[in-house]
């Protein structure tokens, strides 16, 4: 029921997004453009610029939210997400380094993103296995890693004299979304969500301690490894197309928990819908706040998400 309502809202936000853009094309002309002959200017704008952007925002939002849910379940840490654990930043470093070294984007950048995200993922997983570190401690370790990696990105850019050239991507944005970006991300989002859905029972058991999982006949190690792989894949692919957008992966799983409780399967569905909805709305705001100029959507999610992170950090400490 909630998922249906969320989907309805997502469709509404998407339709509204279709009518907002720098040309100021009014809704009736947008509707007309959809039926216009191929080659018309309006049709080109609506189908070639606005639509891929909305679709990409939805895919990135869903991917990051599911990655966040998996990370939180896997580490049993409410402050976990691809961003707070430095996985987004790891992907970003790898992308910036390969782009500058080889001038390559697209598929090469995506492969690099997986590598960067993977390395950080392994480090964080090893840290989370050390039980002594504690919930906030692990989040702090992740944030430190993120700061270090972000500084590395800045250093590479400064040395290459190109700091101002990719400001939007660095803040996280779907401004320049094109259909090739969508086709690049789509298989990873679909596979990631599908695997999570099929294996939802196993992933759900990860939330309990490993002894309980094994007592119920689960190969905890293998399931946890699978979950970690999904986090890295979903986050890496998202960063490759939209930059390191933060806080979506952190807050959406919490909203889902508040709405439907701890059941992994039900939260997963809400994360897919809610993540997509959050980023589509954030991107809509990104277009409206400085109209007709643009703001990176990552700035909007940070403005909403940073207070939420503080709230969660405080709550998990007092508990």
């Amino acid at each position: 029921m909630l998922a249906l309502a969320g989907t309805g809202l997502l469709v509404l936000a998407g339709l509204w997004s279709l009518t907002v853009g720098a040309t100021g094309m009014p809704p009736d002309r947008v509707a007309g453009a959809l039926w216009a002959a191929a080659g018309s200017a309006d049709r080109g704008l609506v189908l070639g610029v606005r639509l891929p952007r909305i679709v990409l925002a939805a895919l990135v939002g869903a991917s990051l939210a599911v990655a966040g849910l998996l990370a939180q379940t896997l580490t049993r840490n409410p402050l976990a997400s691809a961003q707070t654990f430095g996985i987004n930043a790891g992907a970003a470093v790898a992308i910036v380094a390969t782009t500058i070294a080889f001038g390559a984007g697209g598929v090469a950048a995506t492969v690099a993103a997986f590598a960067g995200a993977g390395v950080v993922g392994v480090v964080m997983w090893a840290l989370s296995a050390a039980t002594a570190i504690g919930t906030v401690g692990l989040a702090l370790a992740g944030m430190s890693l993120q700061i270090l990696l972000s500084a590395l990105v800045q250093a590479i850019l400064v040395m290459n004299n190109s700091t101002q050239d990719i400001v939007f991507w660095l803040a996280g944005s779907v401004t320049g979304a094109q259909w090739p970006d969508v086709t690049l991300l789509l298989p990873f989002t679909l596979t990631g969500c599908a695997v999570a859905a099929v294996a939802h029972r196993g992933f759900g058991l990860l939330a309990l301690d490993s002894a309980t999982g094994e007592a119920l006949g689960q190969n905890t190690r293998r399931v946890a490894g699978g979950a970690a792989l999904l986090v890295v894949t979903l986050a890496g692919a998202s960063v490759a197309v939209a930059g390191p957008i933060g806080f979506v992966g952190l807050i959406v799983p919490h909203i889902a928990r508040a709405l439907v409780g701890g059941d992994f399967g039900r939260r997963l569905v809400l994360c897919v819908v809610g993540g997509a909805l959050l980023l589509v709305v954030a991107d809509l705001l990104a277009r409206l706040v400085a109209f007709p100029g643009e703001t990176p959507a990552g700035v909007i999610t940070a403005v909403v998400g940073a207070p939420a992170f503080l709230f969660l950090a405080l709550r998990s400490k007092t508990r």
Binding site: G21, A22, T23, G24, G39, A41, D42, R43, G44, L45, L47, G48, V49, R50, T99, G103, A104, G105, N161, S162, Q164, D165, I166, V167, F168, W169, T175, G176, Q178, P180, P292, G293, E294
Partner: protein, 322 residues
Amino acid sequence: MSSVPLRPARPLGRVVLAVVAVLAAAGLSACSSQAATKLAGASDTNARDIVHELGTTKIGGRPARVVALEFSFVQTLDQLGVTPVGIADDDDAARIPQLLGKKIDYTSVGTRLEPNLELVSGLQPDLIIADSTRHATIYPQLGAIAPTIVLNSWEGSYQDIKDSALTIADALGDRAKGETAVAEHDRRMKEIAAKIPAGSDGRVLLAVATPDGMSLHTSSAFTGSVFKAIGLKPAVDATDTVESGVGLERLVAVDPDMLFVATDGPGTVYDEWRNNSAWAGISAVRSKAVYEVNRNAFSRFRGMHTAEVIAADVVRKLNGDR
């Protein structure tokens, strides 16, 4: 509780101290900059007061060891027959031969954004030419090294660049040479403008493409004002020189009739946008008037020679020579 009111007092005291120290340092360096200029002026009766963006600097004699912190200054100096000893060349040695069309001997002093003051000082210059946007904050330090004039290059219009040529000539002690250079340039620009085909009323745009988006250079930017100077219409009329973070839809909305896309090579949004269905909605695309150009030549370099290069290129293309 009683100690609480005392606590803020201490840091406040420290802040005041720090402020005083900073002010004193600024005052000191201002004094030493004056001292430097006085010294130079004392040996020469021909000392001149050069008025620039951040004040007036006294310069005597004919400075020969000049450090230029922007490309436009290098071009002007070259036209005035002076080879700078130091250049903020962005640590990219290939840019200077491209700017001047010849190799010169100089020392790099780092990037234009963050020039290395130690390297500048080591060159023992007798004149430093700095940019009002990028180097205003280090003006006191520069002034302590050598007499410094600050001119508007980065955000400078075509007129600013021409005025700067006269100021620089004056600072070099040969204003007449500057006047000749500007007059010759004006003559060449007139010749170029005369070749514009009748009825060319299209709107011209220079857009710099990065991996992230495009930056549109407006009527206030250097290229925009060069277009205006030869009688063409810039596509974006604005007081801000550059509109950055522009997406494809905004470019479609601007709808230029002639579009120059400045790139550093492949890997920018230009590669992607050209394959987008909305790209065809731009007038310049329909009339096949989109040209990829070198970002150094069209955007980073500014100067009278660059103005001629850009104007001649536009006019050639308006005459149907791609």
